[in-house]
Symmetry: C2
Subunit: 579 residues, 2 copies
Amino acid sequence: MKMPSSMYGRIKQYVPMLEWASVYNSNSFTSDAVAAIIVTIMLIPQSLAYALLAGLPAEMGLYASILPLVAYAIFGTSRALAVGPVAVVSLMTAAAIGNLGLTSPSDIALAAVTLAFISGVILIAMGVLRLGFLANFLSHPVIAGFITASGLLIAASQLKHILGVDAHGHTLVELIFSLVDHRDMINPITLGLGASTLAFLFWVRKGLKPALLNMGLAPRTADILAKAGPVGAVVVTTLITFLFDLSSHGVKIVGTVPMGLPPLTTPSFSPALWGQLLMSGVLISLIGFVESVSVASTLAAKKRQRIAPDQELIGLGASNIASAVSGGYPVTGGFARSVVNFDAGAETPAAGAFTAIGIGFAALLLTPLLFFLPKATLAATIIVAVLSLVDFSVLKNAWSYSKVDFAAVFATIVLTLGFGVEAGVSAGVLLSIGLFLYKTSKPHVAEVGLVAGTEHFRNINRHEVETYPNLVTLRVDESLYFANAAFLQDMVYDRIACEQPIRHVVLMCSAVNEIDMSALESLEAINHRLRDLGVKLHLSEVKGPVMDRLKCSHFLNDLTGQVFLSQFDAFQSLKPQQI
Amino acid sequence: MKMPSSMYGRIKQYVPMLEWASVYNSNSFTSDAVAAIIVTIMLIPQSLAYALLAGLPAEMGLYASILPLVAYAIFGTSRALAVGPVAVVSLMTAAAIGNLGLTSPSDIALAAVTLAFISGVILIAMGVLRLGFLANFLSHPVIAGFITASGLLIAASQLKHILGVDAHGHTLVELIFSLVDHRDMINPITLGLGASTLAFLFWVRKGLKPALLNMGLAPRTADILAKAGPVGAVVVTTLITFLFDLSSHGVKIVGTVPMGLPPLTTPSFSPALWGQLLMSGVLISLIGFVESVSVASTLAAKKRQRIAPDQELIGLGASNIASAVSGGYPVTGGFARSVVNFDAGAETPAAGAFTAIGIGFAALLLTPLLFFLPKATLAATIIVAVLSLVDFSVLKNAWSYSKVDFAAVFATIVLTLGFGVEAGVSAGVLLSIGLFLYKTSKPHVAEVGLVAGTEHFRNINRHEVETYPNLVTLRVDESLYFANAAFLQDMVYDRIACEQPIRHVVLMCSAVNEIDMSALESLEAINHRLRDLGVKLHLSEVKGPVMDRLKCSHFLNDLTGQVFLSQFDAFQSLKPQQI
């Protein structure tokens, strides 16, 4: 039976795999396979470490790196995005589950898969309803501030593993107090192991690649070896811990990680649990989506490709649902990992599927080797990874460019550090929106005059311009809507309350993109008030869509003056006619 | 000791009474006293009825009409506003207290004075912090829809008194179902009394004034007599109920109303109660403030006076605190009552203080006469008063002018009727803001060309204009900020993805009132992408404040093209130079 082509088109739209799979060849296969090997090596320690960060058993990190990658390969649009557990989302997962006050490991695991399921449902719903634009309401500086603060929080939360103490907390203050409280219980062997791993990893990051290049290695090989640093640290510290039996000296180890492929899991459908996790799920979905889309679109642009944000939502949603049914927790596209994937030459999303196979082998075969892996090593891996996210330059840039953006970033950072990730990102979003609304509610208004010898009008306070005492032209630099309708009235009334023999007021509407009903009522009120004072109200440069709208109302019939196509026409007609 | 003049000025700013009291004379006194007598006559039945609507004992309505009026006379700025219990705020009070599930009358009364106190604190805090602009975020159509729906709800809630049944509910559906459930318990005598009062009051409203005018009475006298209609109904129905002992036939009466001046009351300071009432207090304050300011400014404009919105907040806040300490409940400026006060010639806020004296006398002397007053009469008074608030024309106007405004009004009306006042007004506000943000996140963008023979540029799709294939000019009709930064990038990339030999892209910024950091980053990304494609990016008509901001960033250094003062300059410089 032949499928109608439009239906096939729709299926292809929702399953981008059909497109690239039909032209897949052996060249693509080789590139993808090489990239997959490199990403797999990088992902094994990361996935264990991020599960630890999320407060979950290590194997959940592995499980979150298998089926979700396959799901993204089928439904995602980015050719380089490497999906899986990431630092910020793991921290948010820890915060969300921490709120529930659960103690039993099985309840915690159930909450994690449920959270992944909720995120998946939210992402898919947003994708189907084409709500990807909602992510635009997270302003760039707020995201930058949030990521920086999260990086600091994550690093602080991992210090306990380096010190070998049992501290807790979801905010920087709690973490620091908890660490200070436990200062007498620091385990020197753990600290020695953790600190040297940390030092080694920092050196790998900064010094290894140049050293390898000096030794004459090809840049790409040097790069790959440098990325393998964490795996080296894992192997060496595990061996040391095993050989010297450090776990009996208080060094915390990962212990038994179940061997085998991911189990089939069912999320909880308890309305109470959904109610408690829903808001966290929304935030995790939005932050995960924004992080993922920003890296995917950056990488796509390098190859002149485009990603489809609404389909990305479906891809990430499918990943999270795959994670929920296979013992994982919320996932998204990771920044560092995707860059590695791209640099290693991944050509199609198949690279992700091959990575999944690699991690699958690791879960099947390597987990017994992880028994003696010290938690301090994983913590060191996380700290080194997240400190690269910390970048306070956004504060400096925002301060010099815009105090409003600065306020939003500053609040986001302070609230994230002081009250946790959910408070921080919510405050950042609400503050960005609130400040935008506040600005538009008190718009900039310029009185303008004619720049001599042109048909161009500019602010009388900034430029040398022609004006006439009988004619006041006000350019309102904002759409007119309910929040500034009252302001508009006040502003016009204030301007005409003077000794000047004003006969005409022109509202120059070149920057007015919208006049809503509240503003229309204000314009009617202004028109009536000016009529009582013997002053005519005119409009100029009204845009097409705004004019269309005004024609549906009585305003134009009642208007005492005229509507001029250009401000120059208005000026020519209304200036005192000289003899 | 002489007070420093600036300090006296500040005190005067917060106590407007000092200003008008210093020039008060016997003419003003006469005008104010006459107005006060008329308003007192109108206010006695209203205050009793609205207390009933709020689910409170009748005397609380009287108490809310004494000290609050004095407080407003001292701190308010409107010369005509008549403060006291009003319909919508009474309904909101009923909803707020209903949420608490209290049963004991003393707990209910305590919750009411606490709610008044909370509203007072919120209003004063808003006034001191100059947050009056927050009221601007209630769009006109949303308020109109809310008032209409509230009027319907109020009328429906009073039907039980007319029918003599014991129905309950906070939404239209609940009320109707409850009435239908109780249909067998209708008291025919109550219904007869209620229905005839209703008919009489409607006739008074529509037919009495013309009839009196026909009889040769002066218009003002006719007006005053018509306003006294409710008092007449109160007197007559009370007498009938007393003479025919209707209360023993099931006609519900007001019963004992304590005689005497208002008691001193203390609001509760229980954090739990404050927590439960805070949101309601915020909504009551905002709605009360908006209602009050809109009538006050309308009346002030008629006499070429102005009111000071931030000082109004303090006046209304003081009123509510006065209500809280004297056994009242939340108050605000009433529409009908203020118009009567104004028409009756009130010249200063002293009229309000005189009204307070009148109500004080009523509380001292007349309360025993209210014993046999049927609740049905008060219900009829309310129904007639609120049905004048019901005006569905806002739906029609919004539909023809703007679908977005229509959506907000429609949701407000439906949610108010279906889920109660608090849900309705909250949804209206959030929806207005959400829709505004949605619109600005997908701005109108026009490609423009030169209107031949002018220096004026208009949309190529709407006007006959000159263009050149090497030059694309896009006019973005919105401020560039985080919510539309991504849209801007997509839009430019889409436009240049064509066969046309584009060399220059000009962004015409005449309607761009703001470029925030997110948008700046998008502009930088666009600039880089276009540079890679060999296309130059230019800006034209950048406004002063926006340009100042851009100069603080690196963008202007990196820009491949130029910034032109006018679009005409840009067009002249960039068009292909003909030989």
